[in-house]
């Protein structure tokens, strides 16, 4: 992408101004305040599970009913949380992030075409 600098600086978009604009800051805050806590949560939950499996073998081997153990339920729980977080993020991104991102992008594209 060495061609980028000649290409983009020519159209004269002031990226610093865009970045400092209230709308962009809002988009950034909205994205980060959603993904960061969620990332912290799923990593903590995953490592808690790994630590339990590594150091609390007896607890994880306890039977809940029949041959279904605590460990198996926790493991399947990891699948469930992964699927739920995936769907939750997608619906959030589609509803909240995409409209604002598209709006800013279209304005930038218009400005670029006009320049």
């Amino acid at each position: 992408m060495t061609d980028r600098i000649d290409e983009e600086s020519g159209v004269g978009i002031d990226y610093i101004a865009v970045e400092e604009s209230q709308r962009f800051q809002g988009l950034r805050r909205m994205q980060r305040s959603f993904i960061f806590p969620l990332a912290v949560f799923f990593l903590l939950w995953y490592f808690a599970y790994v630590l339990l499996a590594a150091f609390a073998v007896d607890f994880m081997s306890q039977r809940v009913w029949g041959d279904i153990t605590v460990g198996l339920l926790f493991g399947l729980g990891q699948f469930v949380t992964t699927f739920v977080i995936t769907m939750w993020y997608v619906s959030f991104a589609n509803r909240k992030l995409d409209p604002v991102a598209t709006e800013i992008r279209e304005e930038l594209e218009k400005a670029e075409a006009g320049a």
Partner: protein, 539 residues
Amino acid sequence: MNVTPLAAEAVKNDPVLNIAIFAAFVAVTLFIVIRASRNNKTAADYYAAGRSFSGTQNGFAIAGDYLSAASFLGICGAIAVNGYDGFLYSIGFLVAWLVALLLVAEMMRNTGKFTMADVLSFRLKQRPVRMAAAITTLAVCFFYLLAQMSGAGGLVSLLLGIDSKVGQSIVIAIVGVLMIIYVLIGGMKGTTWVQIVKAGLLIAGALAMTVWVLALHGFSLNNLLQDAVANAPQGDKILGPGLKYGANPLDFLSLGMALVLGTAGLPHVLMRFYTVPTAKEARKSVVWAIWLIGGFYLLSLVLGYGAGALVGPEAITKAPGGVNSAAPLLAQALGGPLLMGFISAVAFATILAVVAGLTITAAASFAHDIYSNVIKRGKDGTGESDAAGEVKVARRTVIVIGILAIIGGIGAQGQNIAFLVALAFAIAASANLPTILYSLFWKRFNTRGAVWSMYGGLIVAVALIVISPVFSGSPTAMIPGLDIAIFPLENPGIISIPAGFLLGWIGTVTARTAESRALAAEMEVRSLTGFGAEKAVEH
């Protein structure tokens, strides 16, 4: 209930049938590759399939790329023999995708062109950062490639009844040559189609076998577990953790870190995000990948315990392919030689597809990053980067990598495959992921931080592997005769991943040169809005 091992007597299989099914797969995919290659004109066509795949198609291709022989045969076998600990492995592989979905995929798609280095060097100094990113990319691809190629040799002994070293070497060479043909002719488009076909076959086969296994046990997971316990020498220990990793829990923690943080730094996975037209499609492709991969691992839980119940751990470990033979043996126990032939052909196809994906990634990284931007400095005299020359170099690189992979694969026969894969994941997590996250989310991050983090993470991970028990000092080590194993863990992740993050931070705060404020703002605006992102190629 059938508790007596069905296939315990001997591995009866029909090499001619297996070869015929495999040949049919090669013929079909080759036809698809040739058809797909008609529009390969530009660099964007060759490396990124013209960015024309839909999110759904790319999701299947990602699943095809990710469900390598190690995760398909390896996890089934690990569950069949060690029970729960095999399942633990698959969870790390799945949860890792959340890192890719939430933190990496869309922003990568918006700021890059073909390779990981495009994103990392966006606002930093081109040459040092690209060089470092290309080297870590090549290192990850190389170890991953070696693992797949030596895995191919091992599979052959089981599936085709070829036991001799020469015979296995010939098969490795055939896999290598086929892969070169696919990638040379088809580029990214052909490779992607091979992965889509393979993912479909693999998931269909696994689904059919799972329903079959459950039907034999009255559709009750509990009955299945009961039979697996009755058949296991360790009894009900297979229902809880500890059989495989119990001796060294710290090692398991280290592996867990490398698995969950490595995926989002694997260059051949990252490159797949450039084959779709927009960030929204990149998001959609990760969502498809998560459903397919997660679903597949749930199936392999049933298949693994099913193999334990219907074939028996002892018969599996005694079979020619060892633990890796659990899935094919289960197929034989269920559907006879025809199903086994099908599953074996899918396993071959898996290796072929993964190897092709790795090769095109490595070739793109060499041609686009090292040749075009570091050696040629992105100019051919006219101020334009020379895309045609770059693709020519990429094609030649494919041949070189293919030959290296064949030689390496023959040399690595019988090596510990898990060691090579763990090394690839550990390098990806220590050298690639810190720099990717820092450059996407930390405005102050600078060139020195990137270079320190990438070289530092790479060197620490490789050095720890060299002084670990997988390299020397134990009977199963690479060099059993030597003993320089000072580091007690098999996986370096627990040290090398924090080291990669720490070095990136230290490098950044100690650097005196400030990076361009305007470029940082531009990258941030582009990464979030998708403005100026590479568009799909119109044909």
